[in-house]
Amino acid sequence: MADKTYDVIIIGAGVVGSLVARFLSRYRLDVLVLEKDSDIGTGASSANTAIVHAGYDPIPGSLKAEMNVKGNRMFDQLAGELNFSFERRGDYVVSIGPDEYGKLETLRQQGLANGVPGMVMLDGADVRRREPNINPDVSGALWASTGGICDPFSVVVAAAENAVENGVTLLTDTAFEDFIMEGKRIVGVKTNRGDFGSRWVVNAAGLYSDVVMHKAGLRPEFKIVPRKGEYYVFDKAEMTINNVLFPVPSETSKGIVVTTTIHGNTIIGPNALEIEDKEDRSVTPEGLSEVWQGALKLVPSLSLKYAIAEFAGLRPGGNAPSPNPNIHYNKDFVIEIPKEVQGLVNLGGIESPGLTSSPAIAVRVIELLKDAGEKLEEKPDWNPIRIARPRFRDMLPVEQKLLIQNDARYGRIVCRCENVTEGEIVAEIHAPIPARTYDALKRRTWLGTGRCQGGFDIPRVVEILARELGVSSLEISKKGKGSEFLVRPTKDVETE
């Protein structure tokens, strides 16, 4: 058995695990977060549409609906406390042609049932005025003023960082393998880096939440089927769509969205393809074509010439029936303390609107622990505020000058497309949750995401990482072990 026993171990440092950690850090608890990857937030949290949903999509009465609307309401305060990028700029569900218009009212009614405030029906002319790039055949839109966009990765980093600053321990490269049980009671977990004792375990394992449940002997029928969504990202210098535009949804999906990132790039996607492999984030010609056709329906003037990136994300879709006996819905979230074992909180099937729901889920976890008899005692010195590090690109020249005067490294631009400086990179490498790989830096600073896709910055970033981490450039990787950029010094041919 392990030397140390924690009060709570959280499996998975995605947006759900990180926010649970952050909200738990308020209490006198020893909390440990285990992350199997080299960085936090690398699963569903890193590749999604980055939308904070208003809440008119989920079936009324479902956990998804409740968490979505509650989570949405929490974002202003959360963004203020944790200092991540969030803009409540509203969203549109756009109907094209006369036939689709009727479905908007159905959605609005669903939104009203879910408690979504601030929804307005617009006619075609209104929509054309608000978004000049829209398909001229637009017949109307449901405008939801509470919709928003955020930088989902910065939510994860900010939450996890605030948790760590408030005493939570985070271990990366640490994969859950099994539970340690005493009868029906969980007393710890086995990992690739040894055993850790704990009174509670929170299963926030995302795509692997089914595997974790099964290890505890629970919900054998529960299965996460990854649903792949592919995306295109466009050059912000060439084209900008400033609004979040949804098509009228189908039975299974919200459809191909045309939206903007918080950084100003237009993105389109995702499609929805159920696959088996939980690690298959490859893009396919078929998938991209589906995304392209879907997006053209909303904005016919898009041009593929200006695409600067394609990527795919996996939604951890579950098959759990809703706990609400009054509805028939089989893809609800799992948020529960199961009765069959002691000491486990299950969070499963947290697919879209998972990002929006995550703060509400974290609060629900605390309620569940209290209901289970945990006396959660608040720490008097808990600090809910996390200070963001400077982002050169977003500053006014006068602020940039000051920043450089204080630290000359902010004067050196390393990523030319996104204007990311050496100072920012160094700060992230030495942050409370250090960025140790290229992709970790990319997600935090947005370097390498522009037109040249790292062509310019990769050699420079490799050099800075090697210098700051005190290792050879040969050890610097894109995303952890096995993804090193370089194989040997040019002149060391004999060593092969």
Binding site: V283, I404, G411, K481
Partner: protein, 424 residues
Amino acid sequence: MLKQKYDVIVVGAGPAGLAAAIGAKKTGAQDVLVIERAQELGGILQQCIHNGFGLETFKKDLPGPAYAQRFIDELTSLHIDTLLDAMVLDVTSERHVSATSQWSGYVELDARALVLAMGCRERTRAQIALPGTRPAGVYTAGTAQRFVNMEGFMPGKQYVILGSGDIGMIMARRLTFEGAKVERVLEIMPFLTGLTRNYVQCLQDFDIPLQLEHTVKRIIGNERVEAIESVQVDDHRQPIPGTEEVIPCDTLLLSIGLIPENELSRKAGVALDPVTGGPFVDERMQTNVPGIFAAGNVVHVYDLVDWVTEAGLLCGRSAAQHAIAERKHAGRRVRMKGGDNVRYVVPHVLDKESLAESRQRLQMRVTTPIEAPVWVEVMNGDERIVRKADLYARPGEMVSIDIPQSAYDAVQRASELTVRVVRR
């Protein structure tokens, strides 16, 4: 030490920028500054260590760095200022340049003429929507070239190269020279896209197979490239099912084209040709924005550096001529300034030569009322140029005074004239 204002500022110190700076200085520009984002001059030539440069300019077969060195030496001997390891953040149509570096901090400079010589960038896998995973081991040929030739590291052991452009073929030979295996060069077109001589001396000489009408169907491998799947294409460049082949490799190099780098040009209001991706230019390499010139790969992608140099020299000469004219013109301009009890004067600037044509009327408003007879006086320092009498001066009533043609000689001595309205 940087000046605040230069005759010519050149953005980029590749072959075009070096030639432009040299051309400008030799044409008579008094001060020339080159801003370069790398830590040294020369641009991409410093990593192009292969020969084949300078056959036209020097009638010699030189490696890229040697070709650059000749211009760097000349630039140094001409006392041209440089700002290295610096990035230009913004340029305006008035040729106001904002740049930053860890050595200079954030600097703001003005140029009488500005030369855009930012070169081009490589197309990436995204631009051809290359399917598959996103592992380490997918590089543009230029990034790999920098690693191998300048940073001193090999990005892989076993390569497939997509694209038969010159950089791709040259890298195939270079990697072979350093002990790596190049499995294949794939080209989607039915013809070579680079120079035939490079096919001979880079691929044929070393038995590196080239497959025309072939492309990469997908990239395989989660952490690092493990293989690529190639496929033959038909006349419409569409994959032919059944022709797929999995080629094991740890690195995929992309040599799929170059795009002029014009983000700064756009900020300056320079109009771009959608065909070339570069600025519209006239025969002197001037863009649609007066005083802003462009040369080299930023205008259109060249295949010979010698021609880039030629364009750079021409561009530099034009920029210098513009700066010299502007300087001359600036000497003819007198700033008009409000003095005692004058809020402002219109026009703000007066061309001294305008008095050769006609008298010039100045209009202004006073700050505070004077309900008594006043003088309206135009002064060059202590010297009075002209004055007129008014019965009073009120802020609500515009005041005017003419500078007569007889004041021509007196105005020639001035760089600034002050107008005041004072009690008589």
